[in-house]
């Protein structure tokens, strides 16, 4: 089977995320789909999976055009999408999960368990997978859950399987197991689209590659004709590769010190400190616990063990407003969900944390509110229509600037930024880095939480790498490379 994307365009509101993407995958290929977060990979795959519709362009299956209107249609066309976050029915058995939604039936609609068990056993044996079909799903480890998900895809005769970052939550030996299965499937003529950020792994497994950047295909070809360094440059882009790094400086005054912080199942025994004027990075892979750690310090989930010191004094924020009062501020990740108030204007979103300051006799005064906001707007080169327009009329990068100005108004001493450039384009990214550097130069301690290696390397002076809730490595200045970060982030550093 051959899948061809031809000149695919897709916009979300005013933002076009795919600008005429063309690529193809055929049976027997393992196609690596590469690109940074926000490059358009997920959008493209969601179109193939029937979750999104194209604005223009076509998808061809074996030469004939098809339209995928729902995930079910996509499955009917032999396409299976294995999502990054698996959601198996943990209280059902392996074979029940394999047949979930497509159960074999006897007369009068009763389940034909014998037949399902039989088929499941055959398929597992065929693929040389050692899983008992009677096991409960909850008793399997992550890789085996993934494998069951793949067998599910095969049961509905998938000819093309999309795997979205399948290895992020897997240990080394589990990855081996998964790759063995993938190679076996490909030998049987199945086509695989493999999304991953781990270039070494991709180089090892895949036969072909396509690199997306900002919604364009910027490179494609045979995997054995390219080096990981070249891939990395394609992914990041020339501009970013040229982007300057923050100068590493010496900082004196320690503002925040954290000792042996733990919270059940999220992070454990975390100790570090950050100084005035420093930009500290915290990085790791999915499930490293960095966001949870700082949510706790910020007082959003204040039931942790261990001790936080602010200016050498023990401090425990019981609520977010208490943290804000002493100058600890967290700009959360996932702007749309955690930061933007869609029904408020640009002005109000940008001044929401400090409204009390503009009041006299309990009434808001427009003039001081406006003038404080306009300082940031000019500083950040914010592009907006009117101050009273809804904030949702702005582009992602400009929304992020509005959110930043909301927080900078509070005159923070410690600014925690969780994924500060999520979903913003490269130009805005650079501007936001500049803003962050400027803030740090005024003596604010900045903590950047990010999963993007390049962001950490460009922006931070020092980086702590987390793995499964623990800090497993610390890198300074030139020690910060994607390879070094990845080594710690995958738990291989020790």
């Amino acid at each position: 089977m051959l899948i061809e994307f031809s000149n695919i365009y897709k916009s979300f509101g005013p933002v076009e995320v795919l600008h005429g993407v063309s690529m193809s995958v055929k049976g027997g290929q393992i196609m690596a789909l590469l690109g940074e977060n926000g490059a358009g990979k997920s959008t493209l795959m969601n179109i193939l999976g029937g979750l999104l519709r194209v604005d223009s362009g076509e998808i061809f299956l074996d030469g004939s055009p098809v339209v995928m209107r729902s995930p079910n249609e996509s499955i009917a066309h032999g396409i299976a999408f294995i999502h990054q976050e698996l959601s198996p029915a943990n209280d059902l058995r392996v074979y029940e999960n394999m047949f979930l939604g497509r159960e074999e039936r006897k007369r009068f609609g009763f389940l034909d368990r014998a037949k399902m068990r039989q088929k499941a056993r055959e398929l597992l044996a065929d693929l040389e997978i050692e899983i008992d079909e009677e096991t409960y799903m909850r008793d399997l480890d992550a890789s085996h859950k993934q494998i069951v998900e793949i067998t599910r895809a095969l049961l509905c005769e998938a000819r093309t399987i999309i795997m979205d970052e399948p290895t992020t939550s897997l240990a080394e030996h589990e990855i081996e197991l998964l790759f063995k299965l993938v190679r076996k499937l490909v030998a049987q003529g199945v086509g695989i689209i493999f999304i991953s950020h781990k270039l070494n792994e991709v180089k090892d497994l895949c036969t072909d590659y396509v690199v997306l950047r900002n919604g364009y295909v910027v490179a494609s070809g045979k995997m054995d004709e390219v080096t990981t360094e070249q891939l990395s440059e394609h992914i990041v882009g020339h501009e970013l590769a040229q982007m300057s790094r923050t100068a590493v400086m010496h900082h004196e005054d320690e503002i925040l010190r954290v000792e042996h912080l733990s919270r059940e199942r999220q992070f454990s025994d975390v100790s570090f400190s950050v100084k005035s004027g420093e930009i500290l990075g915290i990085t790791g892979l999915l499930g490293d616990g960095r966001s949870e750690l700082f949510r706790s310090i910020f007082g959003d989930t204040p039931d942790y063990e261990g001790q936080v010191y602010l200016d050498g004094q023990p401090f425990h924020a019981k609520s977010t407003s208490q943290a804000i009062r002493v100058g600890i501020v967290l700009v959360p990740s996932n702007r749309k969900e955690n930061a933007i108030i869609p029904d408020l204007s640009v002005l109000y979103n940008g001044t929401l944390a400090t409204l009390r300051r503009y009041c006299r006799l309990g009434l808001l005064r427009r003039a001081p509110q406006e003038s404080e906001f306009l300082v940031h707007a000019a500083d950040f080169r914010l592009k907006y229509g009117k101050l009273d327009d809804l904030v949702t009329t702005l582009s992602g990068g400009n929304q992020q600037k509005v959110v930043l100005s909301r927080w900078l108004n509070t005159n923070p001493r410690i600014l925690i930024l969780d994924n500060p450039t999520q979903g913003v384009d490269i130009g805005a990214k650079q501007e936001i880095y500049e803003i962050i550097r400027k803030v740090a130069s005024t003596g604010v301690a900045v903590v950047v939480l990010s999963g993007e290696g390049q962001e950490i390397i460009r922006l931070c002076e020092r980086t702590l790498v987390m793995y499964h809730g623990r800090i497993v490595g610390e890198l300074r200045g030139d020690e910060m490379t994607e390879q070094a970060i990845m080594k710690y982030a995958t738990g291989l550093g020790a």
Partner: protein, 345 residues
């Protein structure tokens, strides 16, 4: 000519799409025109028609003043992404307390305390409003701190407040000294009995300022629009939620005072029943989003007027009383359909 026409169409469609109050205002205008016709507009006897028209409007406004005040409270609750089904029961419970305080049959609590005249009345009003706030506060605490969905909380307190009131008032029949205090609602200005309307407008003006010019007003929108973001911004989401229910309780209690002063008595099993639905209907027709985050005081006023004038119109056209509720239902559904169109365009 053609250019002018184009401009009008453009302006019209821009308003239609961009201004959430536009279709509400249009609807109100349409209903008023129908009303004008119903009153037999005749150019020759304009003066006579005008006085009929004014009279009719005063009646409409006065009849809707109490539900109007309740609806304003409800609007704040709904903008905060909550709902208050207990307004009718809070209305009756506060009214009962008001009557007990001022009972003219000799057993009034305040006269027992040696208070009489307007000072006693003022104290009674304050106590009743505080009582209403307390009942609202119970809702607010259960919603904000108990984490129970507002629909469930207020469904529960709706039953509790009314049933306890009915039980407590069994065998008690305080009577209201209308001759002393009725004038609070019934005093006439220029021959018209307009006090309920005046109170309604004053409260609306106050709430308008609160919604537009105070931190609290902004925080209500923030909580209703994106609660998670509001919390992470350091807004005390719980305090905001508690406050909207307290405020609604206070407004409902005051509405109850106005009503009793006007009609001089209260029927504990029926008074205020259906207020929750009438208020929700007015708020929704006024362009407030049911899931919170969007809504205005002015829109709510228009919503109350549309439903009120509609009722009046059905009356004028002689539509059978049992069918009137059906019209109300139709209007609510049309209003939400219109909003859906506005949201997608």
């Amino acid at each position: 000519m053609d250019m002018g026409k184009n401009k009008v169409i453009k302006w019209f469609s821009a308003q239609w799409a961009g201004n959430p109050l536009f279709s509400t205002t249009l609807a109100l205008c349409a209903i008023i025109i129908l009303q004008t016709c119903a009153l037999g507009f005749d150019y020759a006897s304009f003066g006579e028609w005008w006085s009929k028209f004014c009279n009719n409007w005063i009646i409409v406004l006065r009849n809707n003043a109490t539900t109007g005040i309740v609806s304003l409270g409800m609007a704040f609750v709904i903008i905060s992404a909550g709902i208050d089904l207990a307004v009718g029961s809070t209305f009756v419970a506060s009214g009962a307390l008001f009557l007990l305080l001022l009972d003219s049959s000799g057993a009034g609590l305040l006269s027992a305390a040696g208070l009489s005249g307007w000072p006693a009345f003022a104290i009674a009003v304050v106590l009743v409003v505080l009582f209403g706030s307390l009942l609202g506060g119970v809702n607010g605490v259960l919603v904000a701190d108990g984490g129970i969905p507002p629909f469930i909380v207020t469904l529960g307190t709706m039953k509790i407040y009314r049933s306890v009131t009915q039980h407590f008032m069994q065998g008690r029949s305080p009577s209201f000294p209308s001759s002393d205090f009725g004038s609070f609602s019934t005093v006439t200005i220029g021959g018209y009995m307009v006090m309920p309307i005046v109170y309604w407008l004053l409260i609306a003006a106050m709430l308008y300022v609160i919604s537009k010019k105070t931190v609290f007003g902004t925080h209500v929108v923030a909580v209703g629009s994106n609660e998670k973001a509001a919390k992470l911004t350091g807004i005390s989401v719980k305090a905001v939620k508690r406050m909207v229910y307290v405020m609604t309780g206070a407004l409902v209690a005051f509405a109850s005072v106005i009503q009793i002063c006007r009609i001089g008595s209260m029927d504990y099993s029926n008074a205020g029943s259906g207020y929750e639905m009438d208020a929700i209907a007015s708020v929704i027709v006024g362009g407030t989003r049911m899931s919170g985050g969007r809504g205005t005081v002015i829109g709510t006023m228009l919503g109350v007027l549309i439903i009120g004038v509609m009722n009046n119109l059905l009356n004028l056209y002689g539509v059978p009383p049992f069918l009137r509720e059906a019209f109300k239902g139709v209007i609510v559904i049309i209003a939400v359909l219109l909003q859906k169109k506005e949201a997608t365009s």
